[in-house]
């Protein structure tokens, strides 16, 4: 205690501002709480089950830690203010300088920032825990095992149908047409219940021309002949259109049209494709989505397909059992609920009457005891989720009979799934969530994503407190009221303008607010003596708190001008017009704009301290 007191006296005698702002003690207190939050973060997800939900990196805001954070931040800031407000050198006209005043403001900012950013310590603790508990190497190994085992989980029949197949080679290169309208009946096709598949070789053409809307125009002569491309791949400068060429007969490779393990080509988990939530296990539709980096994904899928085929072909049940054992042991470590047993699981796959490894059992992806137990819900949603399966259309059902005359004797996929559903379950989504969360906590840049909100909370609180310290409570309250009245008036005037003149309201509002902002800013700068001390203090307070918003407004004005300028040429557009994305200062600079405004804000504060001194010296 005596040492603390001595240090305090040391500060008081040498660095009066630092003593007054209590920054040393506040940083110390904040540091202690940062450590506490680091520990909370480290311990928060010890139970792997806690990682088995959507986006755990937001847990901070969901599980109440944010409230603890808020309470601590408020207590710290209030306590700090109580201590700091005891002395005010500026108010008492003690000598000061621009640098000293600015230093005070910077200290406020640092104190508030350090007292409100426990989130980052929590996340760092959390990340450290994840890195320790789920090291990269181990995870890579585990993910490989999981991805290789996933084909045998047989939870969704759609993953096992023919169009999924990518191995061996011909499947990878060919296009599988499964639109019943586009099937050439005279060439080789394959039928599974109500689905028809036909394989085509492809040729491709590039297009560099865009239409008015900015879409690439398919090349001629296909475009004029109205030949639809099978799919296309759009790049920034061009788009490649793929057209069907010839039907290829793959009968030698296709032993069965029934759902088979040979067809499975999904990547169960790959962090790079986490945003393609359904895409990783996709059907063709999403698979050829123009935005999907499809080649990489396609290759990855083909590798899974190949590995599964190789494993099946080897007929080595011991190897499969070893894989399952590893998989189940990982599942146990990660507490993913299941009732699988490696031996029995293997026995369901290898059976003498199933040489083509058709999928003859299904594992539930839910625990029977959970809410999914209600039959109705289950029938509707589970296992068969593809739109292709529900071809209620009468026309289609007539057509399908032309391809598959025996359809009536066959079992529909949904019935097939229901009949072959076992009592086994494995909560694969939980596993996926866990893996996703682990990688997301490790790799996501939560600092850059979240720092801006804390920066601006700290900045505005600092300007507010600074304004209070400089001008006093009365002026500050008047400023708040004035700002409110001003906002209300601007809104009303804008509404009035909108009703009377119509059109270009955004320009009116932007320039109107800019004008008023500049007037408020310039009066204390140029003509302070013109107004009374009270009025200047109101203007000064609004300037202090509103300057950065004014800078933001200037950026916004630039942006609306950019938008307007970009729209103009559309009126005299011709066919060859190369459509460009409108430049927008906000999009170009991104979050950089936040830092730019912050720096401008600090520079402003430095120079504005001269005005604050001038105001203080002004007689009433």
């Amino acid at each position: 205690m005596q040492k603390l007191n001595k240090f305090n006296q040391y500060l008081l005698e040498r660095y009066s501002t630092i003593w007054n702002t209590k920054i040393v003690w506040m940083l110390l207190a904040a540091f202690v709480f940062h450590i506490v939050f680091f520990i909370i973060g480290y311990l928060s997800h010890i139970d792997p089950v806690s990682l088995q939900k959507y986006s755990v990196k937001d847990d901070y805001f969901r599980n109440g830690v944010i409230f603890v954070h808020l309470i601590i931040s408020i207590l710290l800031i209030v306590g700090w203010l109580l201590m700091m407000l005891k002395n005010n050198a500026f108010k008492n006209f003690y000598p000061t300088s621009k640098g000293k005043l600015f230093g005070q403001f910077v200290q406020y900012f640092i104190i508030i920032f350090s007292c409100t950013t426990f989130y980052f310590s929590y996340m760092n603790g959390f990340r450290m825990f994840i890195n320790n508990k789920y090291p990269d190497q181990e995870m890579a190994k585990n993910v490989d095992i999981i991805n290789r085992t996933a084909p045998f989980l047989s939870q969704n029949i759609e993953s096992y149908t023919l169009e999924n197949r990518l191995f061996p080679k011909p499947f990878f290169a060919l296009y599988c047409e499964n639109n019943i309208e586009k099937i050439d009946r005279n060439k080789k096709f394959f039928v599974y219940y109500n689905r028809v598949y036909q394989y085509y070789s492809l040729y491709s053409k590039k297009s560099h021309q865009k239409d008015k809307r900015g879409n690439f125009i398919p090349p001629n002569p296909e475009y004029s002949k109205k030949i639809q491309p099978a799919y296309s791949d759009e790049q920034e400068k061009f788009e490649t259109f793929y057209y069907k060429k010839d039907v290829v007969d793959l009968s030698s490779s296709i032993k069965t049209t029934q759902p088979s393990f040979y067809n499975f080509s999904e990547v169960f988990y790959d962090y790079d494709f986490k945003d393609f939530d359904n895409g990783v296990g996709a059907t063709e539709v999403v698979y050829y989505d123009k935005d999907s980096p499809d080649n990489i994904l396609k290759n990855k899928k083909a590798i899974i397909n190949q590995k599964t085929a190789t494993l099946l072909n080897s007929k080595n049940s011991a190897e499969l059992e070893k894989l399952f054992d590893d998989f189940l042991s990982i599942s146990k470590t990660y507490s993913v609920r299941n009732n699988l047993n490696a031996k029995k699981w293997v026995s369901m796959i290898y059976s003498k009457d199933n040489p083509n490894f058709e999928v003859r059992y299904f594992i539930k992806d839910y625990d029977g005891k959970t809410r999914y137990d209600e039959d109705e819900y289950y029938e509707e949603t589970v296992a068969v989720d593809s739109a292709v399966a529900t071809t209620d259309n009468a026309k289609d059902s007539i057509k399908i009979r032309e391809f598959n005359p025996e359809i009536n004797q066959q079992l529909a996929p949904d019935k097939y799934v229901k009949n072959n559903m076992t009592e086994y379950y494995y909560l694969s989504e939980n596993m996926k969530d866990l893996l996703k969360n682990v990688d997301s906590v490790k790799k996501d840049d939560f600092f850059s994503d979240n720092v801006h909100i804390y920066i601006w909370i700290a900045f505005f609180l600092s300007t507010f407190i600074f304004g209070f310290r400089i001008t006093g409570l009365r002026s500050l309250l008047f400023s708040v009221i004035s700002a409110g009245v001003l906002t209300l008036s601007i809104t009303l005037i804008t509404v009035f303008y909108g009703l009377t003149f119509r059109g270009r309201e955004e320009f009116f509002v932007a320039y109107f607010v800019l004008f008023i902002g500049l007037v408020i800013l310039l009066i204390p700068l140029l003509k302070m003596n013109m107004t009374s001390k009270m009025v200047s203090s109101v203007l000064i307070n609004i300037s202090l708190n509103g300057f950065v918003l004014l800078v933001l407004l200037i950026f916004a004005i630039i942006s609306i001008h950019q938008k307007a300028a970009c729209q103009l040429p559309v009126t005299h557009i011709d066919y060859d017009y190369t459509y460009q994305n409108c430049p927008n200062i906000f999009e170009d600079l991104g979050f950089m704009i936040s830092y730019i405004i912050l720096i401008i804000g600090f520079i402003f504060m430095y120079f504005y301290t001269a005005i604050l001194q001038k105001w203080k010296a002004m007689p009433e």
Partner: protein, 383 residues
């Protein structure tokens, strides 16, 4: 003999007469004038010793004289004030639509001088002080300051215009820290900070109060702490609004005596203007008393025609008006007013004060109080 040595000699005299109360305060004034930290430390130690050994008067005198001997040897640079530190010329201030107007007022004050500002309530005392402190603006006239160092800007100027309003603000936190904060802000070196603070605490008789909280202090000591805070700023001009309000008579006399003696420092004299209702006490220490009535200026040095040489006497007595008229019948009595329980008698120029007293004595009149207010601004009040 330098001014400093003269002062030291006076202090010796106090101690020779065993007047330790005033003597010790004067001793500290001399010690402060040295600006020597080793002397400061000794003075502080002595104060501490004095406060813990209350009855050892002889020992105190001996110790004090020992310190005085050291103080005497220190060369003290005498401050020579050539310019008046504040020069206000024809200041006029009017509020609203001619409801109240102050002035024109012209004031000029040198360092080391003490001006009293008196007048009834609502006659512009506070307004004048605040104008002189640059706290409020004025409509006409000019106001100039001349300080040791030129001010860099308006704020810098305000840091030198020290004004204490009648109602001072509450202090928060340790009293000593508040005082040290002042010195720290004024760029006093860290080594001297504690010493200078304690010295000021000792000088203003706050030694036993320095560990208290603000709320535990009486209003007199609050004023003393406020004064300590202000004096640490080494002001060249000091404007005090009603520093005596809420103080008992003894405390008023002590604080005025202190103010006078601090303002008269050898090497750091202060120009002091204070407003007060305590005419008598203020008049005793002031070089000039300014009287404000309805915003108009009068002072006790003004040559106001016949009033100047008139003899004006204030008498508090139980005797009747007739008896007094009887006593004064031989003198040229011009006017006898009865005002607020006291009589004010106006005599023509030839009459002498001692003659009046002896006449009253001979008539065996029962006098509670009598005072010659011919040159006192008191006469403006009773008029």
């Amino acid at each position: 003999m330098t001014k400093h040595q003269q002062r030291v000699a006076e202090v010796y005299h106090f101690f020779d007469n065993k007047d330790t109360v005033l003597g010790f305060r004067k001793l500290l004034d001399c010690a402060i004038d040295t600006q020597d930290m080793s002397i400061y430390k000794e003075a502080i130690d002595l104060t501490d010793w004095k406060e813990t050994h209350n009855h050892a008067i002889d020992e105190l005198i001996e110790k004090s004289k020992n310190l005085l001997a050291k103080i005497e040897k220190v060369q003290v640079k005498e401050h020579i004030s050539e310019h008046s530190v504040l020069k206000a010329k024809d200041i006029v201030k009017s509020y609203g639509s001619n409801r109240f107007s102050l002035g024109p007022v012209s004031v000029e004050i040198n360092k080391g001088q003490v001006y009293g500002l008196v007048g009834e309530n609502g006659n512009g005392k506070t307004t004048l002080l605040r104008i002189l402190a640059n706290e409020i603006s004025f409509n006409d006239g000019s106001l100039n300051y001349s300080f040791n160092e030129k001010s860099k800007n308006d704020y810098d100027l305000r840091t030198k215009l020290v004004y204490i309003p009648q109602r001072t603000e509450k202090w928060y936190g340790s009293l000593k820290d508040n005082l040290k904060f002042v010195l720290s802000n004024h760029g006093v070196s860290a080594e001297e900070n504690e010493t200078r603070t304690l010295m000021m605490i000792a000088r203003l008789g706050l030694w036993n109060y320095k560990h208290l909280k603000w709320s535990e202090l009486s209003s007199g000591y609050k004023m003393r702490f406020e004064l300590a805070r202000i004096l640490l700023r080494k002001p060249e001009i000091l404007l005090l609004d009603e520093p005596l309000a809420n103080l008992d008579v003894l405390a008023q006399q002590v604080i005025l005596e202190d103010l006078k003696s601090i303002a008269n420092s050898v090497n750091h004299p202060i120009a002091l203007i204070l407003s007060s209702q305590q005419l008598y006490e203020v008049e005793k220490i002031s070089d000039k008393v300014i009287f404000l009535k309805n915003g108009k200026y009068k002072d006790n040095s003004d040559a106001n025609g016949e009033e100047e040489s008139q003899l004006i006497i204030e008498i508090d007595t139980n005797e009747s008006r007739d008896k007094l008229l009887e006593v004064f019948k031989d003198f040229k009595l011009e006017k006898l007013n009865f005002n607020g329980g006291v009589y004010v008698a106006y005599f023509s120029t030839e009459t002498q004060f001692y003659e009046v007293i002896s006449a009253l004595g001979n008539a065996k009149a029962e006098i509670i109080y009598i005072r010659n207010i011919s040159s006192s601004t008191r006469r403006f009040f009773v008029n």
